[in-house]
Symmetry: C2
Subunit: 218 residues, 2 copies
């Protein structure tokens, strides 16, 4: 095993450190978050930090970087209260990744890529056409992490579109069947395949517990 201690990590070349540390959390969710500014310009950006926070109410969180440089997604969510989360699937990887380019707030990434925006009657923010899972989100809370200035945005799922064939009888959504990607590090897109689905686990009987009911101990 190669070992890096704290001091060695701090001394690494910038790009080496970014690649190493971005790989260290494991695979990451791959989503496009779409918003609309008050001025009516749509925006779509790649995020690999969306996580599940709870099912009732249905809450997801994601991380935005410090606001010292313009962050259109954050500003639009704060201005409008709405956004959508759209899963990145195999067919749109290149277009999705291009949304990480730094465009001015006046330019919609939808106009610069093959991605298409679609709307329903309930949501002011655009959805990404063709994404196998599309979530309409309502902003709930933000938390500022002092340690490095990152912000967690927490939102509630108020609408959810799922491609019919991915949805199983017990509510499980088969992301592999939808060719949805997982991100490794900063820039590597993977396609996962299911290895196993395991049942709910209960404790095994331990030697200690068996002994408690052993008549020889009474």
């Amino acid at each position: 095993m190669k070992y890096f201690d704290k001091r060695y990590i701090a001394s690494l070349d910038h790009l080496y450190r970014v690649n190493l540390v971005n790989s260290s959390s494991g695979f990451k969710s791959a989503n496009l978050i779409a918003t609309k500014s008050k001025e009516g310009v749509s925006n779509v950006a790649v995020f690999s930090s969306v996580i599940h926070l709870g099912s009732n109410p249905p809450l997801l969180g994601f991380i935005v970087r410090p606001t010292t440089v313009p962050r259109n997604t954050y500003e639009n969510i704060k201005a409008t209260g709405y956004y959508t989360i759209n899963h990145i699937h195999e067919a749109i990887i290149e277009d999705a990744h291009h949304c990480s380019a730094k465009y001015d707030a006046s330019i919609s990434e939808f106009s610069m890529t093959g991605l298409k925006e679609v709307y329903d009657h309930n949501c002011k923010a655009p959805f990404v056409k063709g994404a196998p899972v599309q979530l309409q989100m309502e902003f709930k809370e933000e938390h500022h992490f002092k340690i490095n200035g990152t912000i967690m945005i927490i939102g509630e799922i108020v609408g959810m579109y799922v491609k019919e064939e991915l949805l199983k009888d017990d509510g499980f959504v088969d992301l592999s069947q939808g060719k949805i990607t997982a991100i490794n590090g900063l820039d590597t897109y993977t396609i996962p395949t299911i290895k196993t689905r395991l049942p709910y686990q209960r404790p095994k009987k331990t030697v200690k517990q068996i002994n408690q009911f052993d008549p020889s101990h009474i």
Copy 2:
């Protein structure tokens, strides 16, 4: 597409809703977090919420559920300040998943599974033997999310072991090569394979930008 609105999601059967909402964030990281109590009992638990927060300093966060029921991982981290994060790989999926069973704090999951604990001279918390990526973490901050009582634990990577062959020249760690898993929903373990690695993206020249420098507009 199947559509669920907020009211429909709230009306779903508990297990259906849990499966549905847990699938909605996309693929999740698959990690074993290991700790040691003040009394010297080791603990290891599955987490699918570890996310990257920053590379300099190297920070990761993860979510613990409300503390209304005993949560050994949280209590041990608060008591000792240390924990380890260990990637779940193909060979240990069943043992890792069994760690989700609710054992009493006096019982180490290492004693109830095939997982083996190992130590180095720097870290009081155990590492999971054989995990292709093993991180020594120092507790930094916790944030309580009012909306549902979940807690984000933020820690700094103070030591990092990476299996040599997974580490590439630019610091990228090839998680697929290590057969590291990604989780879909609550209980489904997948193995991702690399589809593509894409370069850093810069904005394309837009029509608008070209016009700004068009002499006919001067």
